[in-house]
Subunit: 256 residues, 8 copies
């Protein structure tokens, strides 16, 4: 594109003033291009963080995004707020456990056709965060296996699912309280583990600090951590990795 | 004893002044009696915390304690300091891994003849603390089974020792870094677990805070926690419980 | 059981496919067995943490648990939620101070016939947590002596109960604010002390952190600590120890 | 393998006693198998954490590991300690910036032939941690592009390397002080970013806490975080992802 | 003024008693003078912190302040409370995004006629704090350029405004979550940057602590920080600097 | 003094210029007067904080102070540094446990002739801080009763000294680890208690934070707290109170 | 009293059984005596902490206390709760700013006839805590001078009250936000200063932690600190000191 | 410059390939230009953070910087390291209190000819940080007035310098321990105050956290804060402001 502009300047079909304008645009597009590529290749939706935004703000943002995207996704949006948005935007679907409101341009085919993401959760109280991860990954086109209620205090429950977890391409492991689950999972698998601490617990759990520190200090290799209760982040990271693992995906010419 | 004093006052064989003196003593003995009973029944040694004391101070304290005890034990004492103390007190034995210097009046028979304490440790770096627990328990008369290097990141190592841990009367579980081991052990056993966090680790381990919080927040029941690196406390608590579990021990007349 | 399977394979009465299935089951039962043994020997109820669960969820969980247990216990359940559950499950009893809802198959005989657990509490504001400990222990079959309102700022109140506490098999000591009570009790008794910090207090108490740190740093030996406000954990640990102390309980053949 | 054992029992070529022994082994191998697969497929070395271990301990551990591995790697080992180990194990190579001592059975061919890992570092003081990540990745068979000294306070330095970073398969971004670099990189790329906070800084950096929190709170998607100064963890995670991205790697039959 | 008093004493037109009174007053005025000068020279309004004050208290304070000031400004006042105050004081204007209620004696001419303050904000959630800064600065007489929604995760958005920010006299940079924006801005400009962390975020953001630490640890020079969510402080500091930069302002005789 | 100046101006014996100078001085003296009164009335020494100062700096400061004081006191000074200072200032005395170097113009008579300060310490490791308090109080003219090694874990030791502590005018209570001692003492006495937390302990003691929080949260009334390890502050506060309690001391005319 | 009992035993007018009973009582009374003395000498009311107690509980406690005390005081009680209590106990007075409900047997004469306590507060938002201190002190019989709204950011306001503060017997200094006021007051006076941090502020004030740390680290001598928002503790400590300062109060025979 | 390139393309004197190269350079220069302008206009030296760098590294960096700058400055460099550097670079000057090593191309004329920066410090222990600020400012061309040892505990010392501070263009206020000085100074002046917390203190000062929080929470307006011990940052910010205040400095055409 830069070359085109220069050629036109050379040919005289573009004035210097116009060229300067276009180069300014180009510079910005240079970075916007990244976003463009991302969406095209990965089918990634535009994501709106719903907390602290009014239904009206969300309506106007999502309407704008719909105009130039195939998918739009709003996270951390309450049932009430979602209902208001849906009145204005009836084509949006709401998942009440994951608290995600989303829309896809058409019934997208499954993007990631090989393998699956294992979303593993310690307790039933971690469900919301785990579902935020799982639904995020599904909207983004991945197959998800849910393995829930397998906290380390009943290690046999986890072990009876060991093979299913081991065969996943990548795992998202969600745990509150002592947050020990990612360490055990990390020792069982040979793929990357995204650990998501939750604020579930009381007392010296300090709103998830306990689980967060546990996960950061894991003696198992291959674990990385996202913010407390950040199910979306866990799911998003897993999809990035899942997509890289698609066969033939990494042709240099199609990349980026 | 109170009755004796009063009877002598009644009989006139004790002046009021003398009675007052003896009652004052009695009051204090009332509490000292506890210590006396403890030692007699449990064979508990007197314990000196060695850190921050000079070899000279330790020599004078242990000499005094030896005069009225069957056992004396110094914890957190370095090899160098122990060597100085041993020159003055050659009858003391030093355990360099546990950093414990101790003496027993005679070759005590094993006090706790039934069952054993399992001392379970996550990593080789937790060895010092684990040994402090184990040696403390042994000096106090318990049998100890050491199950080391069974961190949760390689859960199969732990599971291959599950039966040995399950058969113990009580477990002391020592772990640094993420400190998840007690949660897993707690889920495998039906006896009390004393969890000992260690300061082993780096970064967001914050000198053992990570492991401490993990253990306090354990979702497994039956776990209680002592201070960071407090192997002695772990061993001591375990022996208290182990002794309670000795058959026929709880005759009301001999208790306390 | 493993032997049985192998024998049937040997005899040809079990196909290899079936044997593989059964061995997979066996592996899991190997750990489930632990839970089974626990319940049988200790009469331990299944415990549901009620906070963050809806009445509906609790009804479905407790109904399921009742089908295969002699006791079911729900902790941290509000009066309102308990009332809803009781409409569906009228055989459940609610203790409003301890916030525990529970059911026992029949009027269980007292399991632990010797000795008692002392539940010691510093202030009247610590009552809820202390009662959670006491009621937990009672449901699990232990005799409990309550010694309340004996905070260290009026040491004579505590001392006038010293003998009652000393004669207990194990103590649960509950305190908020400065949390100093376990240290003083720990110095008076020769049995294990389970310390329960509460979030009672204000300002630099930091929601129980102050009491928690105090207890972890206690200079008295024989103290271990559970999470802030974890009365259930305190009671549960005490019962584990109390049961170990029952005379003749530790016949190797009946253990586990 | 389970099937083999059962078949032999069926055929009578294996006694029930021997079968039980082998199944016990099998159970453990069930998990050990994971490690075996991992090494074979990924060429992952066995890793020893060198800090807190004596040269003697390291020599005995690495000697044992060499006997059954193609690669052995010791992290966090000082130059002095490494020199002692090298006297006993002259076939080991030491990288003094990364503080890694390692050995490979033969000159391994590059395992990951497509793409590369970008190791991006903010300041020259973050070099040690960045090199730990880079050298780890190289030993594990990945190509690494180092993009150093591109802290956010001079954003143009980073931008002039934008394309090189964008073309990587995965990035490891290392930063101390305010730790803002991963957020900016995360906004430029569409691949996963592993963020490594370092303890570089002073004052309110609180030994890396500042950078850690920054990275966990990043508003850019696709970022996950490892422990403070954990360059090894950053490199290891990146290689896991890099290997998943190898073309044709995910044939179900060869996986795990 | 001191000289006047002394002269009158010398002349006998002032009694020693009266002089003592006046000197006492003078001493206090010595400091009050500062406030007086400030208002006169800088047109600084008196500022009332509205949080935790009732509408009645605010009415009485603002009425008193209006009597002896040209401007009065109330920060952190809710829409409801402001409405009540406005009923009593209809000449006050309320800005609902900035939550500022203010009054100026007359339509003040723009005080700072040269240059402008750039108020730069990372996300839309930081708007309230950014507006508090911007409106504060405008009320105090500065021109403000708002550059919003330019968080570092989309660095090109920020860069497309680089020139506008660089040409400002001083910048106020507002950011929550990871708080990295001031570091990037600080590297782009050569003027002072006032960084304002916000409490926007969740989990390990710890109510703004994360952004605060990031900003304090910035590797860019020329950045100083105010309290979390302190938009007023950010705006106020910027105006102080903006005024210093007015040409010819610093005549010694008019200063202070 | 102000009146004098004004009278001289009135009389013409002082020029306005000279009066202005003297008034400037007066203003400062107005506050310096406080210090002057304090020293005269209370015999308070000038205090130098020795930590972080070189022997040379201390020599020059103490020499200057000696010229205009009856007493000089240097706290937190090591034995080595004190020896260097004493070579230059042989009239100074060094207390090596309290790490205080001091000098008094003449053998001061005991200033506070009634009552005494009880310095109460929990463990032998708290000795240094306790002695800093005790020696400070003695240098300042108070009688001190030392009651050491009376930690709450052996409550009878404390109780056997209860009367001695109760009869004191004020207590300084020094404790590390869990820091519970002030609460118990506070419950026994009816006079003010100055609590001094020490950094003695390990693990979750966090350099004295544990003891500090305990003391701030004490449920006993009448306790106030100084900084961690601040024995000097404890002693100084106690002397201030002790002096107020001296009979007839509070004649309005001599006060201040 | 001990002597009396012994004499009666000697005389035979008291049986040994009765003597044992009385001695048991005596032991407890030995400590209760303290409370008795305190109330008699100092006119100290019994104090009930109202927070977390129901109106019913407070009614029953205060009724019981009224039966054996001349004064009863309830702190931290809301206006609503106080109204309920007053319906049952109409003789109680409620102070709504200090949130204290109290009763005195008769119109007590001022107990402390000499001097006064200065209660100094930084901002109007600190009023509640300051009033809690002032009203506590007044109920306990001290004269209080209130010096409010003298925060350090307008140092001349404080200085214009310097003399009034300096003439007090003891000061209670209340401050939130940066909490710097006690340091400045401490440098102006020669009497003890009780510092009370408040939770007033926002952002990095962390609920009073900021002010608390400031006060503990004060470079002024003679300052001790109570818990955050603990106005009662500040007032109580001040009265203890004020009473000690009463002329002639410290006759050995009347003390304690 | 962009126009030049385009014109040459238009004229055909520049090939498209060359133009692309130059535009790539231009893009980077776009940002580098900032640094260039900064140095030219403000006389700002290049600054090297010396901590954690070897003398050799510093020599090579400073040599490179000297080649293209008029000034070079190394902060946080020890006396020993500086001596080594000076052997290689004898034209550098070392200030041992500020620990700054610097070089200026020629004897630069004072850049900022009007007004001065007041560097105000609380205690003698804060000297190092204060000098780092002062020397930084002087090297950068500002006049500095040092006002040291004016901590708030002796408020008259500060007040006797009030006028000198008030007349400054901007103040840098350095304080450790409770860090209250900026609040008091901020209330006295009408110019911007840069607050620098120091780590001076002990116990609950937590390495400067106490002073940092105090300053962030200051109730005085016009205060902004830099990192703990960051004297350089304080001085640098002050110079930025000082230069803005130079008369006639802000001609639009010369700016940037």
């Amino acid at each position: 594109m830069l070359e085109d502009i220069l050629k036109q300047v050379q040919k005289g079909t573009l004035s210097i003033m116009e060229a300067k304008d276009q180069l300014a645009t180009f510079e910005n597009l240079g970075f916007a291009k990244v976003d463009h590529h991302r969406k095209k290749r990965q089918g990634f939706p535009e994501v709106v963080y719903g907390e602290g935004k009014t239904a009206e703000q969300i309506i106007s943002i999502t309407t704008a995004l719909r105009a130039r995207n195939n998918q739009v996704m709003v996270t951390r949006i309450s049932e009430e707020k979602a209902a208001v948005v849906q009145q204005a935007c009836p084509e949006f679907t709401y998942n009440e456990v994951a608290r995600i409101l989303y829309w896809k341009a058409e019934k997208n085919p499954k993007v990631n056709t090989q393998g699956y993401i294992a979303v593993v959760a310690a307790g039933t109280s971690d469900l919301r965060v785990a579902e935020e991860a799982a639904v995020t990954a599904e909207i983004m086109g991945s197959t998800v296996h849910r393995i829930y209620d397998v906290g380390v205090a009943g290690i046999h429950r986890l072990l009876s699912h060991a093979e299913e977890i081991q065969k996943a391409t990548v795992s998202v492991v969600v745990a509150g309280m002592e947050g020990a689950l990612p360490s055990v999972v990390g020792g069982l698998v040979s793929h990357p583990v995204i650990a998501v601490p939750t604020s579930v617990g009381y007392g010296a759990n300090f709103n998830g600090l306990s689980a967060l520190l546990t996960m950061l200090n894991s003696c198992a290799s291959g674990i990385s951590v996202v913010n407390i209760d950040n199910g979306f982040g866990g799911g998003y990271n897993a999809v990035l990795i899942h997509q890289l693992a698609q066969k033939g995906e990494r042709n240099e010419d199609t990349l980026l």
